[in-house]
Amino acid sequence: MQSGMRRGWQLTGLIMFAICLATLWESRNLALFDRLGPGSGFFPFYLSAIGAVLCALILFQVTRTPVDTEPGETIFPRGPVAWRALAILGSSALATIMMDWLGFRLGMMIFSLILLPCLGERRWWAIVLFAVVAGFGLFYIFNNWLDVLLPVGVFGI
């Protein structure tokens, strides 16, 4: 196992362990059994307990596994690829905020105008055309043809 992979498994195991402990604690506040039978806390309590044991087992297994001495490929990308992945996530988060505030049409237009150049597109006319179709075209199709209501923003667009 590569050292990066081991660290990743250890971190995941620890986070999952914390989640299981939190749900175990929360389940104690719910009834495990009531007069009708198993209560709301019954299933999550035992699941969390099993989950915590599994996390401990994984942490134990991973920590005992020898680490490869030869350097291998990195697990997560670096350089331009990492920036592209971050651009996708960042612009999607921004689009979600803008969609709530400016509405779907303007939100998706701005989203396309930001993300397409980040992904390497340079033809400005193609970017603008795509952004208009993605914002206004899809809104029209979903709202009018498919009856899927999409958000309208502060400007009424």
């Binding site: 709301s40 994984i58 999607s92 979903f142 899927v148």
Partner: protein, 499 residues
């Protein structure tokens, strides 16, 4: 003959103009998803759920099923033409399909794949029509204990075959089940793990989670791998040579059998039947040295197995309400969104829907055959679409899909969060299939278990007193015992899946 009568009735329902149109649209969209690398059937089906919101339940399910088997076919095109599988099940087609394309026989490879897929899909659907009714009738006699045991079997088979680390697969299952616990308790009505957030009172939506874990995560992985491809392929001659017809027929029939049987077993996944078919053909061939150098049976068998599997995997869903793969779990989610619960009761409550959907499989397979052979050049051109546009388009569809379910931005955040989580977990090689299956089965499993324990007054011995439940629960015990005691016993299947 019961199945045949119902099937004829199903054709009457499926052959309406609107349902034919939905089936056609589903086949086109599915093929497109299969063609475009970076979008698998699970992600594609989840992303396209919102376009079915305004359709009647029959039309919506027909379209989503067509997307599924359309995607299974579409993956073949890229495997043959550019040696890049459009979806995981087409990996094995690259071996001989691409070699055939390099020898100027891309047309013949795609044609035999289409014919094989059609035959495999149709035979599996006929079997579905005949097997589903007795299976559903059997399941009608099940009580909550048997249903709990059945769902446990489905989940445990997925866990057993999910990856090399059993503990990780089990942990992902627990994680999926815990996600399903968020929201109002379905039995007592108490809020659980909501942290007082009103958006969580309805629970975490299955569709945003599936879109995140499969759609967004696959897109982030595709960013690392995507290269634009140059396609040069000869499509003039579509038919195999005369001496290839006999071996192809045999390969198609064997592929159908393998795909059908594998489709009945939850957790097997679409990759395993294709590899099994390939290995079988190679072993039975008089000239195994041709495999890897453009043997047409190496395309015919696996492609048939792939489509037979896709159709047969509907049997556990329709008859028992147990999804056997993440894509089928997404389809199950679509059933639930449309107010339907897949399983034996669906055959009683909505027989017209069930049989129309089953009949639509024949129509969809015929449509795919008619669509794909003449239009294969057009699909190949789709591969020239710049990744930047594909990526932005898919993201916008994901955002629409997550938002439109409950008209709340909260679900879009959930999707993005699970997208990041799915990406990280896939990079670390944690299996995601058990999590998504556990999430969809979680509420039903909990309800069945609690009802069973209410009947028994809290005693687990009820599972020992009910022979069907006991036999079913023995299956996961055996699977886990095999995995724990002979960890290499399931390696061939897992390696096929991992490849």
């Amino acid at each position: 003959m019961d199945g045949l009568e119902h099937l004829i009735g199903g054709f009457i329902g499926a052959l309406t103009f609107s349902n034919l149109l939905y089936c056609f649209i589903g086949c086109v969209l599915g093929t497109l998803i299969g063609v475009l690398p970076g979008l698998g059937p699970a992600a594609g089906t989840a992303i396209l759920i919102p376009i079915t919101f305004n359709l009647d339940a029959t039309g919506a399910i027909i379209m989503l099923c067509a997307i599924y088997y359309g995607a299974m076919y579409g993956g073949t095109i890229t495997s043959v033409l550019i040696n890049v599988p459009g979806e995981a099940a087409s990996v094995v087609t690259c071996i001989d399909g691409h070699q055939m394309a390099r020898q100027g026989r891309a047309g013949a490879a795609l044609a035999i794949a289409a014919v094989g897929s059609f035959i495999g899909g149709c035979i599996a659907t006929i079997a579905l029509a005949f097997v589903a009714i007795p299976l559903a009738k059997l399941a009608l006699g099940f009580g909550p204990a048997e249903f709990f045991a059945l769902m446990t079997v489905g989940l445990c088979l997925v866990i057993g075959l999910a990856g090399k680390n059993l503990a990780a697969a089990l942990l992902m299952t627990v994680f999926g089940l815990l996600l399903a616990m968020i929201g109002i308790d379905p039995v007592r009505g108490a809020p659980r793990f909501t942290a007082g957030i009103p958006d969580l009172f309805d629970g975490i939506g299955f569709v945003p989670v599936a879109m995140g874990l499969f759609g967004i995560a696959e897109l982030l992985i595709a960013v690392e791998q995507y290269k634009s491809q140059v396609i040069r392929a000869d499509m003039t001659n579509l038919w195999p040579k005369r001496d290839e017809i006999g071996p192809c027929v045999k390969a198609i029939l064997r592929g159908t059998g393998i795909g059908f049987v594998m489709g009945l077993i939850p957790g097997v996944g679409a990759v395993i039947p294709t590899f099994m078919s390939y290995v079988t053909e190679k072993r039975l061939s008089k000239h195994p040295e041709r495999f890897g150098n453009g043997a047409i049976e190496g395309v015919a068998g696996p492609e048939t197995a792939n489509n037979a599997y896709a159709n047969a995997s509907m049997i556990p869903l329709f008859a028992l309400g147990v999804p056997s793969s993440p894509t089928i779990a997404v389809l199950m989610g679509a059933f639930i969104i449309n107010g339907l619960t897949p399983g034996p009761f669906l055959f009683q409550e909505r027989p017209e829907l069930v049989w129309a959907v089953i009949a639509s499989f024949f129509i969809g397979n015929a449509m795919l055959l008619a669509l794909n052979l003449p239009l294969v050049g057009l699909w190949a051109k789709m591969l020239r679409m710049p990744f930047s546009y594909l990526c932005v388009g898919v993201l916008i569809f994901c955002i629409i899909g997550a938002y439109s379910l409950k008209q709340t931005v909260f679900d879009v955040w959930v999707m993005l969060g699970f997208g990041v989580l799915g990406y990280v977990l896939r990079k670390l090689e944690f299996p995601l299939a058990p999590a998504i299956l556990a999430m969809i089965l979680g509420p039903m499993m909990e309800k069945s278990l609690r009802t069973t324990l209410e009947i028994s007054g809290g005693s687990f011995s009820i599972f020992l007193e009910r022979p069907v439940a006991l036999c079913l629960l023995a299956v996961p015990v055996i699977v886990f015992a095999v995995v724990a005691l002979r960890p290499k016993a399931l390696d061939p299947l897992r390696e096929a899946d991992a490849d």
